[in-house]
Amino acid sequence: MIKTDILIIGAGPTGLFAVFEAGLLQLRCHLIDALPQPGGQCAEIYPKKPIYDIPGFPEILAGELVDNLMEQIKPFQPGFTLGERAETIEKLEDGSFVVTTNKGTKHNAPVVAIAGGLGSFEPRKPLLGNLSRYEDKGVAYMIKEPEIYRNKKVLIAGGGDSALDWSIFLADVAEEVTLVHRRNEFRGALDSVEKVQELKNKGKINLITPAEVVALHGAGKLEKVTVQRTDTEEELEVEVDNFIPLFGLSPKLGPIADWGLEIEKNAIKVDNSLDYQTNIPGIYAIGDVNTYPGKLKLILCGFHEATLMCQSAYQRIYPNKKYVMKYTTVGGVIGFDGSKKEAPKAVVKAIN
């Protein structure tokens, strides 16, 4: 069981900055995120897009903001459970919470801060009637262990980087790789597009465009798919062992919606007059995931909310301690790793 002071669900900018503010109060944090890397949307969706409304940064790329936040919180040694989705929450007799992920990792903390943004990113599934019947029986939405496709007939659908990259990778592993996309054009890194072209010319990737998968067949497990050409409407059947639609990710509030929290407009209602606490004492919601009158889904607002949440969390964890806010210019930053940053002392010296 992972133990910490504040368990933060969501490792986007708001969740990351909460680590810093908590650290100033000598509180330790652990973050859970469904994505394999920290940064949330900033890292996953738009790392190369500039942001213009981070105070003090006239322009910063979303990916750089994440890198900076990671650097800023390093002294506070946050723990990470990445690639796992927070699934259930349970309150213990001592008032603390246990949050368990979809992979069974358990986390225990007296305070939970949900910084889940738009929710956890789930793969977008194509609209095929019997799709769910073949899930884990030939259909998968992400590739975790490429080895299971060794000597298999694999069909990948999609036109982005992941469809291209996995087609290239599996061309050497699988018996047969077919790539199906609705258009002739692919959106991806130039070298990936060129590599797929080269593998197609060599006959190592069977490319069907513009086309889409319209039906799945097989008794028990997937055996065959119907691919329809979008230009001629001609249908062809392709024998496959595996169908991997890679249509990107879309955010879903997910299991958090069932935690007994008050939800309004797909967001968690919080007390914005005080500390961004939800209707369950000890559970806070900060950043894009929360709502209150006048809410703005801005990173800078998330930073503010994270800061106030940490003050309230401190009082909750140490009800008898008095805390006086200290400026970092005065108190410096004292990390859990023993590092100390502080303002250089002015020299007091007579000038004769």
Binding site: I45, G159, G160, S250, L253, K265, N266
Partner: protein
């Protein structure tokens, strides 16, 4: 302040005729959100970067719209429920030429 009229059919099939300002740097997705014609969290998820298809709509009138950017083309190529007249609302800037535009919101992706 100048407004144009836009007819928007929501996902329940209800028609709304709304005023859209041309001088506030707004796009069609933002107009839909400002009138709350689709629940928050089901439209404009990516914020208007043509990186999701939650603001997809069908253009019903014969207005001449700006060409699709590569980003919009690519997103629509991966979206669901796409028709010939599909566009991403966030990529349609509200201008005087669009007075009388008629659109229908595409269904929400599952």
């Amino acid at each position: 302040m100048s407004d144009i009229k836009i007819k928007i059919t929501d996902r329940e099939g209800v028609l709304h005729e709304v005023d859209a300002p041309t001088d506030m740097n707004m796009n069609l997705m933002e107009v839909v959100r400002s009138y709350e014609l689709a629940p928050e969290g089901t439209i404009g998820i990516c914020g208007g970067m043509a990186m999701c298809a939650s603001c997809q709509c069908y253009i019903k009138s014969n207005h001449e719209l700006p060409e699709k950017s590569d980003d919009e083309e690519a997103m629509l190529a991966e979206a669901f429920f796409v028709e010939e007249n599909s566009r991403l609302g966030c990529q349609i800037h509200i201008t005087d030429d669009l007075d009388g535009l008629e659109v229908e919101l595409a269904p929400e992706e599952g």
